[in-house]
C-alpha cells in the first residue's frame, strides 16, 4: 500500500508500528503478515468479519501473545514478545474481548486492580471518581460484585478499569458489544472525548463499523489474517466493497 495513505493524521509520531507480523495459535496461522501504524493522538479503527484476526492483533500488541515473525514497536521501542504486565506498565491499556471483569471483586476493587501500576493512592481515588463520572451507573454499583453486574454494566466497568492508568495508548476490543443503542452512543462519545481532550491514542476494534469509521481518523480492514484495505476512515466508509461487507449495504 502507498505510504502516503498511512500518514494523513493528527501527528506523524509513531506510537505503535507493526511490520509483517505473524502470530500463531499452535498451528493456526492467525496473523499472516500484518503491517500497520498508529500515530500519537489518532483514533484508528480496525474492522473486519468474524475470525479475521482483530482480537489476535490486539493480543499481540499488548503482549498477551508473542509474534513468530515481524517487528512490533511501541513508542519507538521493541515490544514483540514482552510480557503483558511489563508493557502495561508503560502506559498501554487493553479492554479485552469479552470484558473479563474480575467476578469476585467488587466494582471498586476491579477499578483499584486496574490502577495496580499507579502507586499514588490519591491519584487512584481521583481516577475512580473520574470513572464514576463517565459511568454514573458504576457509582451506584460500587460495592457490588463484578460478576453480578449486567453485561452492559460490565462493559462500562471494563472501560473504566482500563482508564485507571490514564493510558497513552488504549486498545479497545469491541467496546460497544452487548450495549443498548443509547449506551453505544455514550461509549463512542467517551472515546472521542478521551481523544480530543486528553490526546489519548486509541486503537479501536469494532463490529459496529459505521460508528467506528465515524469517530476514527484512519482505518484498517482485516480479512482472514491479512489487511485488505487501509486509509482515511471517511474514504473507507465510502468504499464499495467495505459498504457491502461490513456496513450492511445491499
Amino acid at each position: 500500500m502507498p505510504e502516503a495513505t498511512l500518514h494523513r493524521t493528527p501527528t506523524t509520531t509513531e506510537m505503535l508500528a507493526l511490520t509483517d507480523v505473524h502470530t500463531y495459535y499452535g498451528h493456526i496461522h492467525a496473523l499472516k503478515g500484518i503491517s500497520m501504524t498508529v500515530n500519537e493522538g489518532e483514533i484508528v479503527a480496525l474492522i473486519g468479519g468474524n475470525g479475521a484476526g482483530k482480537t489476535t492483533t490486539l493480543r499481540t500488541v499488548s503482549g498477551m501473545m508473542k509474534p513468530k515473525h515481524g517487528t512490533l514497536t511501541y513508542q519507538g521501542q521493541n515490544a514483540a514478545g514482552i510480557p503483558a504486565h511489563i508493557i502495561m506498565g508503560r502506559g498501554m491499556s487493553h479492554v479485552p474481548e469479552g470484558r473479563r471483569i474480575f467476578k469476585d471483586l467488587t466494582v471498586r476493587e476491579n477499578l483499584e486492580v486496574g490502577g495496580y501500576t499507579v502507586t499514588d493512592k490519591a491519584l487512584i481515588e481521583q481516577r475512580i471518581q473520574e470513572g464514576f463520572g463517565f459511568f454514573p451507573r458504576l457509582k451506584e454499583r460500587e460495592h457490588q460484585l463484578g460478576g453480578t453486574m449486567s453485561g452492559g454494566e460490565q462493559q462500562m466497568l471494563a472501560i473504566a478499569r482500563a482508564l485507571m492508568v490514564n493510558p497513552k495508548l488504549l486498545l479497545l476490543d469491541e467496546p460497544s458489544m452487548g450495549l443498548s443503542p443509547l449506551f453505544v452512543e455514550a461509549i463512542f462519545d467517551i472515546i472521542v472525548k478521551l481523544n480530543r481532550e486528553r490526546g489519548m491514542t486509541i486503537l479501536l476494534v469494532e463490529q459496529n463499523a459505521n460508528m467506528a469509521l465515524e469517530v476514527a481518523h484512519r482505518a484498517y480492514v482485516m480479512q482472514t489474517g491479512e489487511i485488505k484495505l487501509s486509509g482515511k476512515a471517511s474514504d473507507i466508509a465510502q468504499d464499495e466493497s467495505v459498504r457491502k461487507a461490513y456496513l450492511g449495504d445491499d
Binding site: 504486565h85 502495561m88 491499556s93 473479563r100 476493587e109 486492580v113 495496580y116 492508568v165
Partner: protein, 337 residues
C-alpha cells in the same frame, strides 16, 4: 442424666475442639490459598507445616537454657518457622510446580506427592544426624500451667471461662490468640491491601490480571510465601499442642486439614476457617463419645474411642460433598474459564 456435670463437660469438649480446630484452620488456609491461585492441591504442605513444627522444636530446644522470657522464645519460634516454611514453600513452587505450569493437572499433583515424600526424609535425615527421631517440645514452664487457676490471677474473659468451668492450659490460650491474630492479619492483607487484591485478581483470571500490569508469577510466589508462613505458624502451634512429633507427623493433620478445606469449600478462605473449626469440634466430640455415653447412662457409646475421631471428620465430609459438592462456603466452578 446430670445436667450440672454434662453441661461443663460439653462446654469443654467444644472449647477443646475449637483449640484443635484453629490449628486445622491455619493449616487448611495453606491448602486453600494455593488451590485458589493454581487449582493445585499442594500435598507438600503437610511437610511445610511439619518443617515449621521442627523449627519450633529447635528454637525452644536451643533457647531452653536461656533465661529470657518464654513469650519472647515463642515469638522467635513463630517468626523463624514462618520464614523457613514460607521460604521453603516458595522454593517448592519455583523448582517443582512452575516448570509444570502448562502440563496436565495430574502431573503437578503427582509431583506434589513426590515433594512431600522427599521432604519427609530430608527432615528425618537432618534430625537423624543429631541422633533424634521423636522430637519433644521443651516449652517454658509457664505455658504448661492451668489457665486462670485462681480467681486472683484472672480478669474479664478468663474469669468468665473459669466460672463456667472451662479447663484450659496457658498454651491453649496462646494457640487461640496466635491463631486469631494470624487470621486477622491474613484477612487484612487479602481484602484490604494492594497485594491481596492483586493475588485475588490472579486467582480469578491470570491473563487479565497481566493486562492490569500484575506479574502473576510474583503473586503466585507471594501466595506460596503466605501459605507457607501460615504452615510454619500452625506447625509451631501443633508442636506445642501435641508435645512430641517426628518428620512423618504431617501426614495425618495435613489430611484432616485438607478435608477441612474441602468441607469449607476449597479455594475459599472463610471456608477453610469454618471447615477447620468444625472438624476440630467433630473430632473432639467423637473422641469423647464413650465418656459422654457414661454421663448420659448409655452403654452403646462405650466402644467409641479416640481412634474413631478421624472417621467422624470424614463421615461429615462425605455427607457434605453429597449434599453440597462445592463445600459449605465454596462457589460453583462452572463459570471458570
Amino acid at each position: 442424666m446430670d445436667l450440672a456435670t454434662l453441661l461443663p463437660f460439653l462446654v469443654n469438649v467444644i472449647v477443646g475442639g475449637l483449640v484443635l480446630g484453629f490449628v486445622y484452620a491455619i493449616i487448611a488456609l495453606g491448602y486453600t490459598m494455593v488451590y485458589g491461585v493454581l487449582q493445585l492441591i499442594n500435598f507438600a504442605h503437610s511437610e511445610v507445616f511439619v518443617t515449621g513444627a521442627v523449627v519450633g522444636f529447635e528454637v525452644f530446644r536451643i533457647l531452653a537454657p536461656n533465661p529470657m522470657n518464654g513469650y519472647l522464645k515463642l515469638l522467635i519460634a513463630l517468626v523463624s518457622a514462618m520464614l523457613i516454611s514460607g521460604g521453603l514453600n516458595v522454593l517448592i513452587e519455583r523448582l517443582a510446580y512452575r516448570p509444570l505450569r502448562n502440563a496436565p493437572k495430574l502431573v503437578p499433583l503427582i509431583t506434589a506427592i513426590g515433594v512431600s515424600l522427599i521432604l519427609q526424609d530430608v527432615l528425618r535425615v537432618i534430625e537423624g544426624f543429631q541422633g533424634r527421631f521423636d522430637l519433644t517440645y521443651t516449652l517454658p514452664d509457664a505455658f504448661g500451667v492451668k489457665f486462670c487457676a485462681a480467681e486472683s490471677s484472672c480478669v474479664g474473659v478468663g474469669n468468665f471461662l473459669r466460672t463456667i468451668g472451662v479447663d484450659l492450659q496457658v498454651k491453649d490460650v496462646i494457640l487461640i490468640v496466635v491463631a486469631l491474630l494470624s487470621l486477622t492479619v491474613l484477612n487484612y492483607v487479602v481484602n484490604r491491601t494492594r497485594l491481596g487484591k492483586a493475588i485475588r485478581a490472579v486467582a480469578q483470571d491470570r491473563v487479565t490480571a497481566g493486562l492490569m500490569g500484575i506479574d502473576s508469577n510474583l503473586m503466585i510466589s507471594a501466595t506460596f510465601l503466605i501459605g507457607g508462613a501460615l504452615g510454619g505458624i500452625s506447625g509451631v502451634l501443633y508442636g506445642m499442642k501435641v508435645g512430641t512429633l517426628n518428620a512423618y507427623s504431617g501426614f495425618e493433620p495435613g489430611l484432616v486439614a485438607f478435608t477441612a478445606a474441602v468441607l469449607g469449600g476449597i479455594g475459599s478462605i472463610p471456608g477453610a476457617v469454618l471447615g477447620g473449626l468444625l472438624i476440630g469440634v467433630i473430632q473432639k466430640l467423637v473422641s469423647v463419645m464413650s465418656v459422654l455415653g457414661d454421663l448420659v447412662g448409655s452403654k452403646n457409646l462405650a466402644t467409641i474411642d479416640d481412634s474413631y475421631s478421624k472417621m467422624g471428620a470424614f463421615v461429615v465430609l462425605v455427607l457434605i460433598l453429597i449434599f453440597k459438592p462445592t463445600g459449605l462456603l465454596g462457589k460453583s466452578n462452572t463459570e471458570k474459564v
